[in-house]
């Protein structure tokens, strides 16, 4: 018999640079041992996932992180009173500090989550990549935090051009000389604020891994993927599951050293000689995480179970060579659904009683 589980999931902005929420939700729905009810938590009335009625049972607007912890806690409590969700899976970098801070408050409501600690979250930030590399004994490209754009005039003393100018949360711009680097610095600060990170360029094939840590130094599972098709923003539009013992070893070493709890995306580059370099750790599921379920290792379902307090055995098997190829579809939305979302900040699937 399937276990009933109501899961709240964020990140419903399924655009050409999609948030991970819809991938997580599809994976949760595919676990034959779970009878899931999905509560979608959205930031905008036009987040496409709100209107994916076959995937999302109830959708609610929540306040942006900039509105503060108190507003988020109040809204989550209101939502929980309407649809008592058992677990929450946040999927966006910018909201994670809030959900980590609210873990205890959510627990008193009976809501479980599987998240890293505040310290772990800070350690994996791009600004601390070198320290993370030392701690885990994984090679990382030379990285410097840039506090003032004038530092980029002499950056070549530390990092050769071309290099990457990266924002703390998102975005990376390649710069070939100090002038391009300074222009990239200003673009990035305008979009994402400080800090800005300059990182050495590492030639090779990018490999991304969706992985889950048990919070005690162990790895629940990992599926590495190589992108096969990119959008103009450099986001993967198609990818293929691969297997390599050296990649697996790096992931294990990461979890062992950090005791990371919950999902993450480990980004690395394999150089022309085969050496692997850690590029960054994203502290949540990647948008392509549904590939893990498609390949037979359902990592989002594992996280939901862990968040619900279940024990989950480590997984090692998945179908290597399984691919994903993304698609854009137009959803048809009745005006009354948009009206409900716009005026009430909530939308319930007609086939289920929201109470």
């Amino acid at each position: 018999m399937s276990r009933p589980l109501t899961c709240a999931v964020t990140g419903l902005a399924a655009t050409d640079n999609p948030a991970p929420g819809m991938g997580v939700i599809r994976a949760l729905r595919e676990d034959p041992g779970l009878d899931v009810r999905i509560v979608g938590l959205a930031y905008d009335t036009l987040d496409p996932g709100i209107y994916a009625r076959s995937l999302v049972d109830d959708a609610f607007l929540i306040p942006y992180p900039s509105q503060g912890l108190e507003a988020l806690e109040r809204r989550l409590t209101e939502i929980h009173a309407q649809v008592p969700f058992d677990v929450v899976i946040p999927t966006l970098d910018a909201e994670l500090p809030s959900f980590i801070a609210l873990q205890a408050a959510l627990r008193t409501l009976g809501v479980g989550s599987m998240l890293p600690t505040e310290e772990q979250f800070g350690l994996r930030s791009k600004a601390h990549l070198a320290r993370l590399g030392e701690l885990t004994n994984i090679d990382t490209p030379a990285t410097r935090i840039i506090a003032d754009p004038s530092e980029l005039l002499t950056i070549e003393e530390h990092i050769d051009f071309p290099l990457w100018i990266k924002g703390a949360f998102y975005g990376a711009i390649r710069a070939r000389d100090p002038h391009e680097a300074i222009a990239a610095y200003h673009r990035m600060t305008a979009q994402w604020g400080l800090p800005i990170i300059a990182q050495a360029n590492t030639d090779g094939d990018e490999i991304d891994v969706v992985a889950v840590g048990d919070g005690e130094g162990g790895m629940i599972g990992a599926v590495p993927m190589r992108k096969r098709l990119l959008t103009d923003k450099g986001k993967g539009w198609a990818g293929i599951a691969i297997k390599d013992d050296a990649i697996d070893e790096i992931c294990r070493r990461y979890f062992e050293a950090t005791h990371w709890g919950g999902p993450c995306e480990i980004e690395m580059v394999r150089g022309p000689k085969g050496s692997l370099h850690l590029l960054e750790i994203n502290p949540r599921f990647p948008a392509w995480c549904y590939l893990s379920a498609g390949a037979g290792m359902n990592l989002p379902a594992a996280v939901a179970r862990l968040a619900a307090g279940e024990a989950v055995e480590p997984m090692t098997e998945y179908r290597v060579g399984t691919m994903f190829v993304r698609i854009s579809l137009d959803q048809i939305v009745p005006l009354e659904d948009f009206e409900q979302m716009s005026t009430l900040g909530a939308l319930h699937n007609r086939s289920k009683d929201p109470s």
């Binding site: 094939d205 993927m225 190589r226 293929i240 691969i242 390599d244 394999r270 290597v320 060579g321």
Partner: protein
């Protein structure tokens, strides 16, 4: 002859579709190439590979099988399916 890891792990379909599970790269190979590739995976030497080709195909007298095999080995090296410097 020792079979390099990448070659050993390569997934090969009957239609000549190749998948490298370490990198996710895919390739297509023709019938004769497939015979050479399978023989390399079996750890065969050059003479055995040539014999397999002569058994499986009608080989006109002017065809230089040595050169064709070397060309395929070169392609495999270039696509990192064989290590640098590997030769038969």
């Amino acid at each position: 002859m020792d079979v390099p890891t990448k070659l050993r792990d390569l997934a090969i379909s009957e239609t000549g579709f190749l998948f490298d599970p370490h990198t996710g790269s895919t390739f297509s190979i023709n019938e004769t190439g497939l015979v050479v590739l399978e023989a390399l995976r079996d750890g065969e030497d050059r003479q055995t590979i040539i014999a397999r080709l002569r058994d499986g195909f009608e080989v006109p007298g002017l065809v230089d099988l040595d050169r064709d095999i070397d060309e395929l080995v070169h392609l495999l090296r270039r696509n990192a399916l064989l290590p640098d410097g590997w030769s038969l």
